[in-house]
Symmetry: C2
Subunit: 740 residues, 2 copies
């Protein structure tokens, strides 16, 4: 039996740990923050993981590399000129001097910018001046921030002759003087109370000296830690964007943000390689900092590409060091992951052995499992063995069940190679019911590798591609702000990929650029375009390009399928319909310009798409008025179309107002995709379950299926498919293997 | 006593009518559709009104003027080319051949257009051809439409070599072969069942022959009708846009639409006067037909101006004829009112004696009452004496009460000069309770003229201007689609003017152009900008003009007030905040681009603005996420700011998410305007009522006030103000005069 299980262990409870490792079949162990591994781990009972931070925490190097901090372009608060008199802007207002200091020594004509936001004009450097200034005091002081570093500072920009009543901002280069993740832990996890800790200032491998140091430090560390089998990089060099405000509260968070990957040497190298210079505004982006919800600019995508190539080259060298020392290199997909784009073109060449990531949803589970170019993947499961759950009042079994039911849908479709846990095992051992449940989960997880014959379950014929501005680069990563957190504005769309993560389809992610460059791949049967207007996910202005419109129109006309969710293909045009492909969908979004058009909507009952829609359709947040231009309306509310289907040439389109994840909505998407592909006759080709709460995976090669109840209640279903016609009753959460 | 009352009368009930006229003090009578006036009206007991239709109904002229029909530019349904093969478009698909026929005889290179809607390119006339075609059959035939006219037809446009998968439309000139209002009555009021009626084809006074006929016909009619004292024009020449579909259902309705004011002679005259030619697309407007919700183009405003000047000149001549015959000329503000813009620059010169209009809301009541350049105004009150209400099961008293409570708020602020009723008096006489109630209403109406000393009540100091793209031209006419009808998308904004219509403020309507040309008038204290994004009412791209932004910013900074409702100043910018004046409001609209900005909203309790907000704030339709950038939040829900206040320089701004009309919301607006103007200390300067359901009007010159209960329940309030500090209890609906 392959064990496939990683546990955190610690000193002082040797007997219990060894018993548990035997019982669960643990084949890898790790320490946790604040725990030590027992000596006997070097006896080879299990692989030993150890976290490794390449770009922070070496206090000696930190002291020697003051000029080589990670940098970030920040935008000052906008300030409105109330006259033509000189206008002063304190650039650090609203920021935390404990996190950033303005770089006033750099070439400010190049790395600072003053912009009139009323007109969009960048002022000439002669029109403004900078003086250094003392840091602004912390508003409502937060003890946990402690003393400001000695170098804390601000700067005041003076615009000599502003236009009265125009609004101005300053883009400025700032050095990061406190690591973002560490700050987060100080502020939220009481690290401030631990006198052993000191604040880390991250250093940047873009500087040659620092890079040389990082390489040699790893070599030394490998020598000093012969017991470590797997170096778990956490992660590499650049943190996602995480900025704190002057009250030490989170101010800005973008899990996909490249703001903290900036340095003067990198910008100079970029200019050499790409033949043009990036400006601070290319990063600041009018204060939007290239949020993934904005249609990405060519310049920003160039920066991602550049950074990824740089990061891949350097990460590749560290991985090589690890391999040369006879160890494995694993990446934790978190914190400093910028540039380590697992679905980007430079990733496979890094040569990592494994990726481990936190499993929060089926989609994040697939995001890890589907990563190409690594030997194995590992999912870190919830709950952590931390006191917030593992206490006498806590219910760790419930947390484990929720986590498993959520992730299992994805794991069935593409099994992670391993699962693991984190935290303090001593806490978990006090909850024997949790240990029992963990044992059962691990057993079920292993069965997906063993009972399946090591194969993935069969997919329905239609190949599905999620079409947006990002495409493959953001595989399973659409509509996300902060990693796996719920936002009111995104859940109605996240449900699309959450559903897909557990549905029997081959799922791709396709970018508009790919369509323009090489067309829609021949094997794709259905496209999904999901999102609110003005975003990279629906596409916004990308749809103003007639080539994109005609490519998708032709694809559908010739028999393809198109599923739109929310405000698909919304293009804010000067004329014509609001949805660029309104003719394909047979619906349009009403934004106040067509109120004079009298509508006579009629909802149709009974359709393949809505067959399993038992309750009122929950589309989440209202995307706004949608009207039919000829589509058959399957659901409407408040005068607005919520589900509609439409034939277009030989193809078909489905419109859905939103799709928060639920078993019912997942089923609705499942049927929409089949219908759009004209494949409704194949409904049961990979087995079908009448109850949307019960899913089934079909393994034709071993003539078996796995049926799983996604609820914590008993559930019945009727299975049909090749050679199957069977009523089943499943226990709460049960997963059952059936021989066919 | 001035009688100020118009009643519909009829033959056959002479005694009852004479008694009622004495009792109510009727001083004008009119017939209704289908009734005759008794002979004795010529005795001079009361003025006699008679409706007059200048541009239709003369069957003899209709027969002689086949080439002089009213025309309209229509857009065909969009058709997508599925190959490069010739593409045929039947231009009348979706239209009713009983209403329109394509004008295939005109210069089609000029008056027809084929547009590639995927690129916006207008095709050269050589790229397409036209052939006449038989009319498409009526879908689901509607008997009431009857036979098509002999000239019913369609036309097929063939695009020789379309771009595959582009969408094409045809703009074409069509002749209107059935009057729109008459059609409406045939289809909805059973006129089709009346064999005496025949279908009217409207003729156009833009043709010289028709114009000469219309003039002489009026002269003859005046000679033939010596008993008529007041010629009630219904209305003049051009109908608002009202188009029926191929099922004879309403397809397009725009109370402000100028689509049916088109003719070749008018277009030619326009080109001479304005120095450029309008194209069909200037009217078709990408299928939006210049809905008033779109930011109006210069070309469309030129057309309104041109048509209004033409209409005013011709209407002026007819009015002169009426005056020369010793009669009065009255305009019914309805149906064929296009070009008779009562708030436009050409209106006063027409020399009308009076305007009469239907009173549906306080705002429409003010729209009539405030019209400049006429001697008197009259409001036609509800209910009509029609069988739908005046039947044994009907409750005409309730209808009368609802109508009076709605209109009274406006009438108090600016009294109409007269009120009137319509329909069949014989029906009303069967409801003595209704007659009693009418008598009381008329008495209360007259008291507003007599008890007030003939003066309007005092206003609070702040002068309020509603700022949008239309300004004065659409005084009291914002956010309307079809006259006085409820639409889900507008009620949250209509409440603003409905509230204003009854509040003690001097209210103006100001356009962006006026602000750009002559600045914000010096006596204006507070601006209101209300509407959804992308509309003429919030302003859309108009706010991209830095001059407009700075004018309003400076106005507020120097002490002015700004009240924004919904998505005020939303400008869809490429950079910076979404609301152009986000810095003034201290809030911004979140459209998916700032999700990474972490918000820490805190709602503040207790503020002058929300003092009377007893229940949860009902803002109507959700305008979308709004976040604070520094404003004080007074109400929030679902993570979104609903009410916020913000100081900006010496001025103040208030943000409201929406304002459906209710006494509570009217009060909220009242307080918002005072606070924004920095005038909260003057709250009681024109008397204040603690209960928002009870309003008060103050007449300082006669030292009186009028207190009125806007509900059908007893209501108490506490009045305060100059020399007043009094508890009051009012009966349901009561209006009470108090000497101070």
């Amino acid at each position: 039996m392959e064990a496939r299980l990683t546990l955190p262990i610690e000193t002082g409870i040797d007997r219990e740990i060894r018993e548990l490792m035997d019982r669960l079949g643990v084949d890898a162990v790790r320490n946790s923050d604040g725990t030590e591994l027992p000596d006997w781990v070097s006896e080879g009972i299990a692989k030993v993981y150890s976290t490794y931070f390449p770009a922070r925490g070496d206090k000696e190097w930190e002291a020697q590399s003051a000029g080589e901090r990670v940098c970030q372009f920040l935008m000052s608060d906008p300030v409105t000129a109330s006259s033509a008199d000189p206008l002063e802007i304190n650039v650090m207002r609203g920021y935390l001097p404990a996190q950033f200091r303005p770089d006033t020594d750099c070439d400010r004509g190049k790395y600072w910018q003053v912009i009139d936001r009323t007109t969009g004009r960048t002022l000439a450097p002669e029109e403004w001046s900078v003086v250094a200034a003392a840091p602004l005091p912390l508003v409502d002081p937060v003890a946990k921030v402690g003393e400001y570093p000695a170098e804390a500072a601000s700067a005041i920009v003076t615009i000599a002759a502003p236009e009265p009543f125009h609004s101005y901002t300053v883009n400025f280069l700032a050095q990061q003087v406190w690591d973002s993740t560490q700050m987060y832990n100080y502020l939220t996890n009481d690290w401030a109370d631990d006198p052993k800790r000191t604040k880390d200032q991250p250093y940047d491998v873009a500087y040659h000296r620092t890079w040389e140091h990082v390489r040699s430090a790893l070599a030394r560390w490998l020598q000093d830690h012969p017991e470590v089998d797997v170096v778990r990089f956490t992660t590499f060099f650049y943190h996602f964007t995480l900025v704190f405000d002057d009250r030490a509260r989170e101010k800005y968070v973008d899990w996909f943000g490249y703001s903290a990957s900036v340095s003067i040497p990198a910008l100079e190298k970029f200019a050499q390689q790409y033949g043009y210079e990036l400006t601070p505004e290319d990063f600041v982006d009018g204060g939007h900092y290239n949020t993934p919800f904005r249609l990405p600019t060519k310049r920003f995508r160039d920066w991602i590409d550049f950074t990824s190539r740089e990061v891949a080259a350097k990460a590749g060298e560290l991985v090589r060091e690890v391999h040369e020392a006879g160890r494995e290199a694993m990446m934790f997909l978190g914190d400093n992951w910028m540039g380590m784009e697992p679905y980007g073109p430079h990733f496979p060449a890094i040569g990592l052995d494994a990726v481990v990531g936190s499993v929060g949803s089926a989609a994040t589970c697939r995001m890890i499992a589907d990563i190409p170019g690594v030997k194995y993947t590992e999912g870190r499961f919830l709950p952590y063995f931390f006191p917030d759950v593992f206490n006498p009042e806590g219910d760790p079994v419930k947390e484990a069940n929720d986590s498993w039911l959520t992730a299992r849908r994805a794991i069935v479709r593409h099994p992670l190679d391993r699962i693991g846990y984190g935290g303090y095992l001593s806490l978990a051992l006090k909850h024997p019911d949790f240990i029992d449940r963990m044992e059962a989960i691990v057993r079920e997880f292993r069965s997906l590798h063993t009972e399946s014959g090591g194969l993935r379950p069969a997919n329905a014929r239609p190949v599905v591609a999620v079409l947006n501005a990002w495409g493959k680069l953001r595989t399973w990563q659409t509509h996300m702000v902060a990693h796996a957190l719920w936002y009111k504005q995104i859940y109605s769309y996240l449900g699309v990929i959450e559903s897909l993560a557990g549905l029997p389809f081959d799922v791709r992610f396709l970018s508009f650029d790919e369509v323009l460059e090489t067309g829609i791949p021949a094997d794709v049967s259905v496209l999904i375009n999901a999102g609110t207007r003005d975003t990279a996910f629906s596409g916004g202005q990308a749809w103003a390009d007639p080539r994109l419109q005609t490519a998708v129109r032709e694809f559908v006309w010739r028999g393809g399928g198109l599923v739109g969710v929310g405000e698909p293909t919304a293009a804010s045009p000067a004329q014509g319909p609001f949805l660029a492909l309104a003719d394909v969908f047979g619906v349009d979004r009403e934004i106040g310009w067509t109120l004079s058009h009298t509508r006579h909507p009629v909802a149709t009952e009974g359709h393949f798409v809505t067959t399993d829609l038992q309750e009122r359709f929950d589309f989440g947040e209202d995307p706004g008025e949608v009207v039919t231009l000829g589509a058959t309306v399957l659901a409407q509310s408040e005068g607005s179309v919520r589900i509609a289907v439409h034939a277009f040439g030989s193809g078909r389109a489905v419109y859905l107002a939103g799709l928060p994840y639920s078993p019912q909505n997942s089923r609705l998407l499942h049927r929409s995709l089949l219908w759009a592909a004209g494949a409704e006759a194949e409904w049961a080709s990979v087995l079908a379950s009448t109850n949307p709460q019960v899913e089934v995976a079909y393994y034709p090669d071993v003539n078996r299926c796995f049926v799983y109840n996604n609820t914590d209640q008993p559930a019945g279903t009727h299975l049909t498919g090749p050679g199957v016609d069977e009523e089943l009753e499943l226990a709460p959460m049960e997963g059952r293997w059936l021989d066919l």
